[in-house]
Symmetry: C2
Subunit: 338 residues, 2 copies
């Protein structure tokens, strides 16, 4: 094959078949994909969770990951957050003509490794190569399918007054890692994206505590935006305590330098977990037993709104003892963060 | 909302929610989507067919359709070709900052109408808006999920000597419609893309003739490339008769003008059906009863290779009585055709 991706690698003809055979099958190999059909036939339970995401991250390679790993982790996590065991992924590549093959190779290899670590099979896919300038390097869509393990599933509208709000670890790592790469900022300790598949931790949690009310990964828009979605869907107040929110010192430093708020920065390997108060300690213990969630902490509580039917909102108890309303993200803080 | 798509419509924050609420929910409305979760929970049979495709067609509006309708039809067809009833679609938008909202509106409306006609629900989605220049206008990924209705499913490796090769209608309409739009060619009779969802015709066929061996839609690479994939996977010769292959006069004319071969042009509303000889007439009758397949014809037969184990290939019996080997598409005839 050429050392750059050529237009005809996406033609559906001979060159496409070579690309699939020599690169995709090598890294994604599984019986369903090997049949080389236009799709896959899968055995699943009667209730499945499905989620889709397109990844456009710029740059495609960043400290702690790349667009390929991110495309697997991001969708695996979305499916896991629905209370399901992720089992299958589809992937759709859009590649700019001329992308170095070695870069495509690294991305595909990294997707394969991420899929194996998460225990999912990439069962079918599609590759489009578009002329130079029609897309910036490479974008990847993944759609995930998983078997529902708890029903009713955790959902954004199930937060109830009295629940505890937990977070699986530090906030803002992914957003600041991407941004500092773009800006050419260097930190004493290299700042890595947290991108990782959380399905093993989620599975352990749901098997032991099936009454988890809400699971959400605070990606675009960060913790503040995701909590606002939950508060609004559930009609509750999410009150979080500033001093309890874990943020790395270098993320804090980078944020104040750049005028950013870590509560609005994207995360790609963290989740919010809202459980009945009685389950809070058990949930934290289960989370901390997973290597990706060692820094799990309780960060707040769910309260009723002042009047029945009043809109939900998010309050931050600040270090100085005051209370501040945390709104949703307004405007776009960081385009192409994921 | 603004009259152009702004970056923050893809931020995951307030503007994203407005876009989903005011545009996507309006045209795609269904209970699962309305829950506004990061994914959907679906009830399906134990065996599902899944297919994914990214659509990058240029231009996004063309005679007979647009990228939105195409994104529904294309994936609905891929799922149907797996021997399944398409039920759910996910969609992932990548939109260039500045796209006129009226264009996005037309595309989303057209997706909604196509989904209703096909009887599928768009249950979850994702929207990314990227800065100007990072993508050309709009690309759409759809992933389709359907319940398998026959098992073993029709598949590319099931063509057997003695089978009949049928086509559901004229070839090359989509490819030539796109290309003539790009080149500014005008025909006396306007040439329309054939893009349409074939699942109703496929469903009727499979319910009455469950032993259909192969179903494939000849999209990128056209009839010749798709038949080569089948011949190769099944280890057979697909012999087709030039004079029996339906091609509109204006497509023939356009192709000779532009130096293209209609057998390699993309179709978006046609399918190849390979059945045992004994089922051929019944299959044609069922196909012709569907308004989208009125021009269904038998175009050839499956033959054994000369020696057992010899590679499969495609032969064209020409109008002059000769035989010509039809290879796979080499190179890229038409980038961004779908």
């Amino acid at each position: 094959m050429s050392d750059k991706v050529l237009l005809d690698y996406g033609s559906g003809g001979k060159a496409s078949q070579r690309l699939i055979g020599e690169l995709f099958l090598k890294h994604f190999d599984n019986p369903e994909l090997r049949r080389m059909n236009d799709g896959a036939v899968l055995s699943v339970g009667g209730r499945v969770a499905v989620s889709t995401d397109t990844f456009t991250v710029d740059p495609p390679f960043f400290p702690g990951g790349d667009i390929g790993a991110l495309a697997v982790h991001g969708t695996v996590n979305d499916v896991a957050m629905m209370g399901a065991t992720p089992r299958y992924l589809t992937c759709g590549f859009i590649i700019e003509e001329g992308l170095p093959m070695v870069e495509l190779g690294r991305i595909v290899e990294s997707m394969g490794a991420a899929a194996r670590a998460a225990g999912v099979d990439i069962v079918t896919g599609d590759t489009k190569v578009v002329p130079k300038g029609a897309v910036d390097k490479i974008f990847i869509n993944t759609t995930g399918i998983g078997d529902v393990i708890v029903d009713p599933a955790p959902a954004g509208d199930r937060a109830a007054p009295g629940d505890a709000i937990l977070i699986s670890g530090t906030l803002g790592d992914h957003g600041l890692a991407i941004l500092s790469t773009r800006q050419g900022l260097a930190f004493e300790t290299p700042l890595l994206s947290d991108c990782a598949s959380l399905n093993h931790a989620i599975g352990a949690l749901l098997r032991q505590l099936p009454d988890v009310h809400v699971l959400r990964d605070p990606t675009r828009g960060g913790l503040a935006t995701t909590l606002n979605e939950i508060a609004s869907a559930s009609g509750v107040i999410c009150e979080i305590v500033e001093d309890d929110i874990p943020v790395r010192a270098e993320v804090k430093g980078g944020c104040s330098l750049l005028g950013l708020d870590p509560l609005y920065l994207a995360n790609e390997g963290k989740f919010i977990c809202i459980v009945p108060e009685a389950d809070a300690e058990a949930a934290l213990a289960i989370m901390r037993a997973d290597p990706l969630c060692g820094g799990a902490r309780r960060i707040g509580s769910v309260l009723p709104t002042d009047k029945p039917g009043a809109p939900g909102r998010v309050l931050l108890r600040t270090g100085l003892g005051g209370k501040r309303l945390l709104g949703m993200l307004e405007g776009e803080q960081l385009p192409r963060i994921c």
